[in-house]
Symmetry: C3
Subunit: 331 residues, 3 copies
């Protein structure tokens, strides 16, 4: 991680949230506990005035209704004002301004900045110049730390315990930034992780090597090998936008073929879920295209819509923590 | 109407607002009275904290500054937080997600959802999966119930009485969803309705048949036949976007010709209004293109800008009613 | 200026803010003092409830993240609700509505309207029909009064005194609306102004003539002539969007060549700044493209990022003043 990105070590105040690499297990526990406290507060009172003297800027340079609304709702539920912008065409960037200049502008208006940007490394570049904390809301094929924390919060809410889980990840494990971050977090709790994907979309060796000291890992192309003994089945979208070719018509045709072939592989439906355990969790970071059949939406094991609330609570928790005011302290 | 869309029967709490078909006359009276109370509150105090623990999501998948700002202002004037998104390109839909999945996501953040969407039936599809009330903010060529209630509120504010009106509707009565909804509501109060349009844009037979038991109706191509005896002259925009051809260059050329021919028919100007009564109301759902000459804007009979405030009050009233907290009860 | 645009004469309440021509020196002093009070309030308490019964509409029909967020933050820091729209494609204008009709709609929702629009004269056209005060947030190649006030506030904050300054303006002085407005304001305080630009981008004669009674002015193509004796070096962006040709391929090619040639002229870097005074201010309205080298960002004379906060304070001050409630009066 960039040298200016600090480890958390139980001290969130003023820190940027860039990557799951910043977190040790204690840090993750703190976030999940704070998110739980937020859930209680929201259920009891709807909103709080914890951050009501602060301004949160949500800068989204890439389409993402779900993450945008989640950060907006999180900040507003804590009483913060938000200023927001969606879409690169409204930005100074379209006039040739650098991201760094934009951030140095926005930090004058805001106490915290969330940045969603299509380029890897953009969040780190923003954090490097910003005097206020920056949260990485997804930087292209790079990191998406709040999503991985969201997944973990949802799993803990469902299973109460996140130690020593047997987790199976399915789909595009090469380009799916969420599975990279999630694998790291799960390893902190001693998970055994199965990777199910075609070879060309396998989990990168760098990630596998990184978490090898903490987690048993197993790679296969065949979901049947592992489904029966899985606690959490984590299915990912095959992301069309990550198949964008770098140039040339042939490359584009090849990319489309690869996309078409893969988007239907590993479709999870009732038939597949018959082989899964009764108390297994079926998860997906959303949006899904057709990786999980809608016939499973009412299956009690389907947990993908639960993630949405977890996402809001986790983001509320992070906003509170990096601004040095936890709801646990207040109440 | 879809089977899951419930009749109101004076009980709004938790109900979706999909179509004017849900309303009997008593229901309309309740909305108009609540809107009146909202107008009083806004004039006296600017805003209320009636819904200050709630979050309203305004999802606009179609260009509509007017309706968007109206719903935003309505929710905010009642103290609700709003989370909003405008334009399909920022949506998960552009990544292939279904509307149903989007709604199941947004309901986790919000207590009420307003949906504006270009496809007929989209609002009903959203309501079918949502656990929180959904308001149809216009679904393409389908329904736009809050606009029809807005028109009726404006008429009542001007005339004090909405029973037994003589109403003349002019323009594209085939594709104008607002006139369909408004005709239904007016019939509840025994209106006589004149339809003035070219034959190919006449009021659909299904609507005419539906309200025949309640309203006298008369069709003509000639505004002169009816203008002198009209209480409310309701002029509609000839909507270019409803002329979109389904395919083929010939179809497109034909559609453009039809649009050009019709957009200038029935232009209302000073000359035309000389034949109208002194206490007639000239109404239009806005935006207008050139159906009403601007030389009429200062005519005391011109009521089209009045509709804007009525729209905010009606939407405030509906938000209060479906959340089970009317301002009448609070004060 | 249009006849309906009123001079301020120390009475801001209910006035439109269209052009720096409305201001005499006393008016500018009032704005700057109110902005100072806003800065104090924000630093002490974050926000105020001064305008908490008001709604501010921010209508942005042109890309401008910086100005948009500044107006949003300004209104929200004063407790006002905001309703906002960005981008022409979401507007009624795309359905053929006139700007005047849009304004007559929005004034029903809002107590103040800010308009950013690509066409010269649009703000005045809006103000002509609006019953609520309109602030010109930039109308194409026309005026941008809040930016000029922002620049002046930044200069006064840095230098404490704004009388009799020696100011050098560099770059595209023909098309840069900000330098036109700023030159007028500076002349009220007896500034000597140097204009450094290629001949084809010189300060328009109309402006030079207008302020000649108040300011000494000097034109040159050579920055070296004047830099050593400059208190404020004001560098402007060469605006690509102002080079848009009116038609024809040849015109487009010529326009691009002219843009490419000019955008790199007068690059300010360390080498250039060696010749400037120790206590000189280096300013830029932002966004910059490459007019100022980033190697200067940490030079203590670099003041361009200071302008951002000044912009928020000035807009807060104006919102308070035109709504007849100054923070000075409240505290």
């Amino acid at each position: 991680m960039p040298s200016h990105v600090a480890n958390i070590n139980a001290d969130f105040k003023g820190k940027d949230i860039m990557t799951t690499n910043q977190f040790v297990r204690e840090d993750v526990d703190i976030v999940l506990d704070e998110a739980d406290a937020m859930a209680e507060m929201v259920n009891a009172e709807g909103r709080s005035d914890l951050l009501d003297d602060l301004v949160v800027a949500n800068l989204f340079y890439e389409a993402s209704t779900r993450t945008f609304l989640s950060f907006e709702a999180a900040a507003k539920r804590l009483g913060a004002l938000t200023i927001a912008t969606q879409g690169v065409e409204y930005s100074s960037i379209s006039k040739g301004e650098t991201l760094e200049d934009t951030i140095r502008t926005v930090e004058s208006y805001a106490d915290t900045i969330t940045l969603r940007h299509p380029e890897v490394g953009s969040a780190a570049a923003a954090a490097a110049v910003s005097e206020v904390p920056v949260i990485n809301g997804g930087d292209g094929n790079g990191e998406h730390p709040t999503q991985a924390l969201t997944d973990l919060h949802m799993i803990r809410s469902r299973l109460n315990d996140i130690y020593d889980l047997k987790v199976t990840m399915v789909g595009d494990l090469k380009n799916g930034r969420t599975v990279h971050s999630l694998a790291r977090l799960l390893s902190l709790y001693g998970a055994e992780i199965n990777y199910v994907s075609p070879k060309e979309l396998a989990m990168p060796k760098s990630i596998v090597d990184e978490i090898a000291p903490l987690s048993e890992q197993y790679q296969t192309e065949n979901l049947e090998d592992v489904i029966a003994d899985t606690d959490v089945l984590y299915v990912t979208r095959v992301q069309k936008e990550r198949f964008l070719p770098e140039g040339g018509l042939f490359k584009e045709i090849r990319a489309r073929r690869a996309y078409d072939k893969l988007k239907d592989s590993y479709l999870i439906d009732k038939q597949v879920m018959k082989k899964a355990k009764e108390d297994c969790i079926l998860a997906h970071p959303l949006p899904r295209v057709n990786e999980i059949a809608t016939e499973l939406d009412n299956d009690p094991r389907a947990a993908y819509f639960d993630q949405v609330k977890s996402g809001m609570y986790v983001r509320m928790g992070l906003l509170a923590l990096i601004n040095g005011r936890t709801i646990t302290q207040q109440f």
